[in-house]
């Protein structure tokens, strides 16, 4: 046979966490990092559709968006953003502790992340409840008290719930994974040599944070100067 291949013997990596089809731990870690980033790119595009709808309608109905945006609570929004950023910090520190094999600190920071994430979700729930009370959920009983261009405000609220809802769903999934990771860290599964799950989850958590970094100004901060609103 015409063979263009030289076949050579190779040492197999012997590490507890290396799966059979990888040559080395490094290759395996690399693969999962790349995989995680590729996954995050799909997430960007997934949210991208909603962002597009947002920009399209904000372009078409600026008045409606401005007045509907003023229905959100700026200060609660800012506070909640702060909470989320804190959780990002604790998450980053958790990864740091995993990479330096500090088991207890890892568990602590993961727990802090969990708590902060839950606080964020709680506040979000409170805000949804508020919208519910004020009939600001698009549908039959929708009503935007004192809004300019009220006919088009449902578009804002549909997007508000669509975007924050999808974001919250990601948070809820994240909280679920966090619970598992906390348990595994407690068991001492992760150390400097192998902590890919922690690292990848960190990437996910920061990504969700970034989405919020954009949602906050887009949904809460339109035309806050108070001029021109009837």
């Amino acid at each position: 046979m015409d063979s263009n291949i030289v076949v050579a013997e190779h040492a197999q990596a012997a590490h507890r966490a290396v799966r059979h089809h990888f040559e080395s731990a490094e290759q395996q870690r690399d693969a999962s990092t790349v995989g995680m980033w590729v996954f995050l790119v799909t997430e960007i595009m997934f949210f991208g559709g909603l962002f597009l709808a947002y920009f399209a309608y904000r372009h078409a109905y600026p008045t409606a968006f401005a007045s509907a945006s003023n229905k959100t609570d700026l200060w609660i929004g800012a506070a909640n953003t702060t909470v989320l950023i804190c959780s990002s910090l604790t998450m980053a520190l958790a990864v740091h502790c995993a990479a330096t094999s500090k088991r207890m600190l890892l568990v602590v920071f993961l727990c802090l992340t969990l708590v902060l994430g839950s606080v964020f979700l709680g506040v979000k729930g409170y805000q949804y409840h508020d919208k519910w009370v004020h009939h600001e959920i698009p549908g039959q009983n929708f009503h935007c008290e004192g809004c300019a261009d009220a006919t088009h405000t449902p578009l804002f609220f549909s997007l508000y719930f669509g975007m924050t809802g999808l974001h919250a769903t990601h948070m809820i999934v994240g909280v679920g994974i966090l619970l598992v990771l906390i348990f595994q860290s407690w068991q001492g599964r992760f150390d400097a040599a192998w902590h890919t799950p922690i690292e990848n989850f960190g990437l996910y958590w920061h990504f969700v944070d970034i989405i919020w970094i954009f949602l906050f100004p887009l949904l809460y901060l339109i035309d806050r100067s108070g001029k021109g609103l009837s």
């Binding site: 109905y61 008045t63 409606a64 401005a66 300019a148 261009d149 006919t151 088009h152 021109g228 009837s230």
Partner: protein, 359 residues
Amino acid sequence: MFFTPKGLSFFPESASTIASHVDALYAFLVLTSAFFSLLIAFLVVFFAIKYRKREAPQLPPDTNIAGHGGGLILEIVWTVIPLGLSMIMFVWGASIFFTESRPPADSMEIYVTGKQWMWKIQHMEGAREINELHIPVNRDIRLTMTSEDVIHDFFVPAFRTKADVLPGKYTTEWFRPTKVGQYHIFCAEYCGTKHSGMIGTVFVMDQNDYDAWLAAGSGEGSMAEQGQALFNQLGCGNCHPSVVNNNNGRCPNLHGLFGTTVDIKDQPSVRADESYIRESILYPDAKIVAGYENIMPTFKGLISEEGLLKLVEYIKSLGPTSGTPTGAAPGAVQTTGSEPQTPQQRRMSPQAVQPPTAR
């Protein structure tokens, strides 16, 4: 082009000014495509026969077409030639499309409403028809179209043109029929169960026949008149002045509004076209004219799309001016009171439709 023995044509009739341009472009595309398809087919078959081997060669040759470096030249050749040809196609197609997109200034206007699953057509003179469109030959016809429900598409193969008809906005299509005859209207955008039944006929008639047909039409008055009746019936006139130089400060004067640029509170200014008027009736608070209050109630749900078109036509008939929509423009237009111009006058008048200008 293709004919069956029975004389059944395999080529659509060509009955508008655009059609002949499109056919010429088609011929060019067919020829280019035939050339490349045959070239590739010939080469593939030729090579397959010429170099055919039954067995895998033991010492297969590895031959480049023109030896070293010949590859690059070939690659450039077969990149540049298709690119050049396709740019010709693009420019040619785009120029036809541009023509198709800009109705001539003095087109005769007809309003079309699509509805599952019929075409409702209103002539300015007042005649209304369903699934039929009567038009005079050799006149530019401009359709302003909207839908009451889903997306439809007004397609006349013999005119080689079509355009989607959307709910919630107006779209435009124009053509100039060149041959007397009857042609298919198809709905070309899938719109539900009886999509394939949403078909009709265009009757292209010579001017005399057309006038006779019009004369036999309904006695409901012209579209603008019907629009005015609706205007009064809905009480729009209670607030909106529609005569020259009358400004009550509460509602913008509609006289001479159409086609002008309107300043909007907190938003960029807009051109007062059909879509703007429709929007202002249905969603008055979406764009508040600068200097006015948000006091107008919505008429959403109170007027049908056809009624809206009548109102649009009425407001159009109040004529454009060069002045601001809200006021003055003294003496720019000579109209008698609130009486709209007759459609006939309007079609004759050169400024009836603002010549579309690209900005």
